[in-house]
């Protein structure tokens, strides 16, 4: 009797877990040839649940709109595109599994993603081996394209299949420091990071540049992703007499940190990189985030005439997630893949050749077109040639751009 109920329970539990696990994967139907023509799948890998998911969903649906547009306009005759989105939960290990499963799906000719630089590190080799092109709309760690010794000036491209439409932290961190000391006249910064590839890298670059620009560092500290309680850190920052806080990391922790800092009566602004440039940062952080600053790659999407159609479509479809940060870049990344597939097919008499993946990599390298978020082309390292950066400030509960420019420091 007891054994039977144990059995029933474990079966029920396993069933429940399987069902929920499948549910969290999102739309992930595998591709295949349809009767109407060839189907080409564009993979997406991003955090679609948990930490960072607002930004991750923005990537997924940015790609979705690019694919819908390509299908509607018949950009590549005879080819129907579809999206296969996998959730990496911001975990490098999960990202690598997703990369393996995308590689195994022969209809996948290109992948957009991931969001996090740390996840990209674990995926690059998998895609390189399979000759599958990967374009990240958001990875900003310089080492991903220029090798581990980029700071010393030895730039080596490790993976010819890896590209990105976002510019790097080397520029972003320096641009932030320039704004902080030059425009905002800050002298004494407290620097906190989340120990991740992206956050620690960015904070390190900011610290170096800020000191070089004549600023002082009031103190440094590290947090862990998922931390909620910063009360002791806040008391420390307050006691350090810093006139600004620089945070290298994502909005999940930054918004709470800023909120707790302001609640403790320390009215200094928090400044961060594109990882905190998200509407969720303000909605969770509340009034405490007023006056906070963020740098982000490119020009503000809302202000670009070329992006208005995209924004309208995103809003009309009521997609969840945040298109503002990388939606436009995801659209452009997907478009680069679509165009490359088109040129490969055109060179082969309108058919997708059997070695399409390798040819698509070459096609993406030769990309040269005006995307919705700026010009799309890649240098010898796979980095975007678009070096536009923007500083945003929270004003009246919204991110408002305060300075846009190209950084060439």
């Amino acid at each position: 009797m007891r054994h039977r109920s144990l059995l029933v329970l474990s079966i029920a539990l396993t069933g429940a877990l399987t069902v929920t696990a499948c549910g969290s994967r999102g739309a992930s139907k595998s591709g295949g040839d349809s009767a109407a023509g060839t189907t080409v799948t564009i993979g997406v890998d991003a955090p679609l649940s948990g930490e960072n998911s607002a930004t991750g969903l923005g990537i997924q649906y940015g790609v979705q709109i690019a694919v819908d547009d390509a299908n509607k306009n018949k950009t590549v005759p005879g080819v129907t595109f579809k999206v296969k989105a996998l959730d990496d939960q911001a975990q490098p290990a999960t990202g690598q599994q997703n990369a393996t499963s995308l590689v195994a799906d022969s209809s996948v000719l290109g992948v957009v993603g991931p969001l996090n630089s740390g996840v990209a590190q674990s995926m690059q080799q998998v895609f390189e081996t399979a000759n599958l092109v990967e374009i990240s709309p958001s990875n900003t760690n310089p080492a991903l394209t220029q090798g581990p010794n980029w700071a010393a000036g030895t730039k080596v491209r490790g993976y010819k299949t890896y590209f990105r439409t976002a510019t790097t932290d080397a520029l972003q961190g320096a641009y932030a420091a320039q704004y902080a000391s030059g425009t905002a006249k800050k002298k004494n910064a407290f620097v906190v990071d989340d120990k991740q590839t992206y956050g620690a890298g960015l904070a390190g670059i900011f610290k170096d540049s800020f000191t070089k620009d004549g600023g002082a560092i009031a103190g440094t500290d590290h947090v862990s992703t998922g931390d909620k309680d910063f009360s002791t850190l806040v008391t420390k920052i307050k006691a350090s007499g810093a006139d600004m806080l620089y945070y290298g990391g994502q909005y999940d922790e930054a918004s709470l940190l800023s909120k707790q800092l302001k609640a403790a009566g320390d009215a200094i602004p928090l400044m961060g990189g594109d990882g905190i440039f998200s509407a969720t940062y303000i909605s969770v952080g509340g009034a405490g985030t007023e006056g906070d600053l963020a740098t982000s790659v490119g020009s503000p999407v809302d202000g670009l005439a070329t992006a208005q159609d995209f924004i309208a479509k995103y809003k009309a479809a009521k997609y969840p997630g945040d298109y503002g940060t990388y939606g436009g870049y995801s659209y452009d990344a997907a478009t680069a893949i679509i165009k490359a597939v088109g040129s490969v097919a055109a060179a082969n008499g309108g058919k997708i050749p059997s070695d399409a993946r390798a040819k698509v990599v070459d096609g993406v390298q030769k990309s040269d077109f005006d995307g919705i978020a700026g010009h799309v082309s890649f240098d010898a390292f796979g980095d975007t040639t678009n070096k536009q950066l923007t500083v945003y400030q929270v004003t009246g509960g919204k991110w408002v751009s305060v300075k846009t420019g190209a950084f060439n420091g």
Binding site: R2, L9, A16, K228, A239, D252, A264
Partner: protein, 309 residues
Amino acid sequence: MHTLPQQLANGLFLGSTYGLIAIGYTMVYGIVQLINFAHGEIFMTGGFGALTVYLVLPHGTSLWLALPLMLVGGAATSVLIALGAERFAYRPLRGAPRLAPLIAAIGLSLALQQAVHNLYPQATSARVFPQIPSGPWHLGGVDIQSGDLFTVIAAPICMVVLALFVRKSRTGRAMQATAQDSDTAQLMGIDTNRIIATAFAIGAVFAAVAAICYGLRYGQVSYDMGFEAGLKAFTAAVLGGIGNIYGAMLGGLVLGLAEALATAYIADIPGMHQLGGQAWSPVWAFVLLILVLLLRPQGLLGERVADRA
């Protein structure tokens, strides 16, 4: 060093929440020797229950009016889930080898997390929780944030009520009897199933109170908030002596203080700069746990573990 009072207060606020959740672990363990690893998720569902109540109330309802209703809603949600778990996942396994209910608890915790993630609208990482609209209050050298006000008031009240309940009420005495020897208690006419369910329910109410403390303090609730909070609370329960109600609260406070003081001061010790810092606070909390368990295996106030093992 003038920041010390504030850091102590930070630790106490943090520790009170740990203590409130730890009650649930300790009561259930005290009576059925089950470590209910799904308790962190019961805490989480309490937070979402309270948030749901707030969202269905007409927009602009004063929080002072909404808070009691949220408390009821949150408590009802987590009690319902705790009782369901007890009835359908743990009771059928009572008497089975100890590992079976433990695995059931872990499975249940994953299922509850995914269920909230899928059922609750917007699969983003965190949902905004309403805030007490005034404060902060200054008390000597210490700032009390609006979000902590609820913790300051709720935690001691909960503790006193629980202590009186266990010591004075009929059900409370029946609980003590069941904890001591469940078979004999049953022979004496105590409905042990009802008593065990009551222990689950009380733990769930405390978890819901803790979830509201958490929501008000951080301004958000998320489907995965139960994991870390649950782990810390379980640690607090073990630290205080699992099975001992006062130990759970003491363990929570000690853990919270340890985290706060470690973050604040270890980095100032020469040569320890790399080991101070916010990110190291849980490490020091667990170092403390190991030390306590080495020197006093039954926990700070524990007494019951030895004769059970």
